[in-house]
């Protein structure tokens, strides 16, 4: 007998949080992405040959958007939850008549909002600048949402496990960033030596980057349904894990 008001308030609180901190949460990631486009696209890109018939700058844009989505969804949920653990306001939420799934979903919705905002702005700005029409709205949208949820959930698990602020930053720097970079944001894995190609295809982020690139540009390296199924399944699993952790009170209930 959850009340929708409770859930809606949690979501409002999440939006309120990142909107208040807009200078930290929205502007920097957009600036970073635009810098990437500027450096890799306009200045270095000229010297790089076309990939799958697209100029280098266009080739990397979907991956850059995905990277923005992933990093920001992760940042949003992990910061929000870790801060709430830190100032103990999380205890107040846990003592309130709210279901674990409502708390998790609200955090994830916050992650989705920020992820989509960053990813959407990145795509919109760059595609408009380059006068490139979007190939498939539904596929693009699917992957933007999917990535936001997945990394939102990852952020939740990270924040629950983190003993210090540093360990969250470490996850982002040493796990997420390498996985995204090696997931084919900046190159086609077909250009890689065989061994690296094989290593790349066990990286789940490769499928997500490939999927969103199909959505934006219509080119792909593995069949679309592989990417959709794999990333969809992984996302559901991680979401279920988050809800489960809240249900058992992992690191929440003493």
């Amino acid at each position: 007998m959850g009340s929708f008001t409770g859930f809606a308030t949690l979501v409002t609180q999440e939006f309120f949080r990142f909107w208040r901190l807009i200078r930290q949460t929205i502007f920097p990631p957009i600036l970073t992405t635009l810098l990437f486009i500027l450096i890799f696209g306009f200045s270095l890109g000229e010297r790089i040959q076309e990939i799958h018939g697209f100029p280098y700058i266009l080739y990397i844009i979907p991956g850059l958007a995905a990277m923005g989505v992933m990093n920001n969804a992760f940042s949003n949920t992990s910061t929000s939850l870790y801060m709430a653990r830190f100032d103990q306001s999380l205890d107040n939420i846990l003592a309130a008549p709210l279901k674990p799934i409502e708390i998790v979903t609200a955090l994830v919705v916050g992650g989705i909002a920020r992820g989509i905002l960053i990813g959407g702005i990145t795509l919109a700005v760059s595609l408009l600048l380059l006068k490139q029409p979007l190939f498939s709205w539904p596929v693009t949208f699917f992957f933007l949402i999917q990535q936001s949820i997945l990394f939102g959930c990852w952020g939740i698990i990270g924040a629950l496990r983190a003993k210090t602020w540093d360990s969250l930053a470490t996850t982002q720097t040493f796990v997420i960033t390498p996985l995204v970079y090696l997931g084919g944001v900046f190159y086609s894995i077909n250009l890689l030596p065989d061994i690296w190609k094989k290593i790349s295809i066990v990286n789940p982020l490769f499928y997500m980057v490939d999927g969103i690139r199909y959505g934006v540009l219509g080119i792909l390296e593995v069949p679309l349904w592989h990417s959709v199924a794999l990333s969809g399944l992984l996302t559901l699993l991680l979401f279920a894990l988050c809800v489960y952790l809240f249900q058992i009170g992992y690191k929440l209930v003493r």
Binding site: S3, D91, L94, A96, R254
Partner: protein, 272 residues
């Protein structure tokens, strides 16, 4: 139906730390109940078990007939909690903190806004509604905790050491407020280590010591039963007001809650 019904509650934090050693406690609706005991006696563990922040090893807790493990939402809807440690979001303006709290307990946006305004004014915090809690004094933060606990219109208000760190004048104001709330029908469960607070406010007092409730009755009856008769007042008793709950406490636990007595104990230790 009792407001709170606790049976056989046990909790260990580790193999060596047994916080609660079997608590049985019934608080009828409308009562002003006090848990009196020193820090570390288990007061907070009981309270956190009621709201679901601590998971007991055994025993059951019912809030207005709803088992907190089986129907947590139904149980929590009756409760308003002001914990001992300030747990207010560090950066949100306190006006928003109050309004969000209303929403968590199912109040509509409009109702939350109105109730937040009323409570903030009642607690003298209205002028501060746009600032974060770090811009408030310790006493203001305490009051905010209680105001926030009232946002959800609780039938049962749980206050864990609500007046710790509040100056005397404000403490008396707060006591008046709580008395009024109680006479309007709110059940209140309060923990304290201030003897006076327990004596003055509570219809019944449970004396808690090392994870057990060693006595539970009205202050008058407890004093009647456990006061020292015709005994030479030496040692720690020198600091104890005759015919007070403090005396009861000393009798039951061999220890004192009063500051003066603590100093005396320390000085005795030093001499040894």
């Amino acid at each position: 139906m009792n407001a709170i019904e606790i049976t056989g509650l046990k909790k260990s934090y580790s193999a060596t730390v047994e916080a609660l050693k079997g608590i049985d406690l019934s608080i009828p609706q409308g009562e002003f109940f006090g848990l009196l005991g020193p820090n570390g006696a288990g007061k907070t563990t009981i309270i956190n078990s009621i709201v679901g922040l601590v998971r007991p090893n055994s025993g059951s807790i019912k809030v207005m007939g709803h088992d907190i493990r089986k129907e947590p939402l139904a149980a929590k809807r009756y409760l308003g909690l002001s914990p001992q440690e300030i747990n207010i979001h560090a950066y949100f303006p306190i006006g928003n903190v109050m309004e969000f709290q209303g929403g968590f307990y199912g109040l509509s946006k409009k109702e939350s806004k109105q109730r937040a305004e009323k409570l903030l004014k009642d607690f003298g915090l209205w002028e501060k509604r746009k600032v974060g809690r770090f811009k408030l004094s310790g006493g203001m933060q305490r009051r905010l905790m209680i105001a926030r606990a009232l946002m959800g219109k609780p039938k049962i208000l749980i206050l864990d050491e609500p007046t710790a760190g509040i100056d005397v004048e404000l403490r008396h104001e707060l006591w008046e407020f709580l008395k009024g709330l109680n006479s309007d029908g709110t059940t209140i469960l309060l923990t304290t280590h201030y003897i006076e607070e327990a004596e003055l406010l509570c219809e019944r007092v449970g004396i808690i010591h090392k994870g057990k409730i060693v006595a539970c009755d009205s202050p008058t009856k407890l004093i009647e039963k456990y006061r020292f008769e015709n005994k030479e007042r030496k040692g720690v008793l020198k600091f104890v007001r005759p015919g007070s709950l403090e005396e009861v406490f000393v009798n039951l636990t061999g220890k004192s809650l009063a500051e003066g007595a603590k100093e005396w104990e320390v000085s005795r230790d030093l001499q040894l």
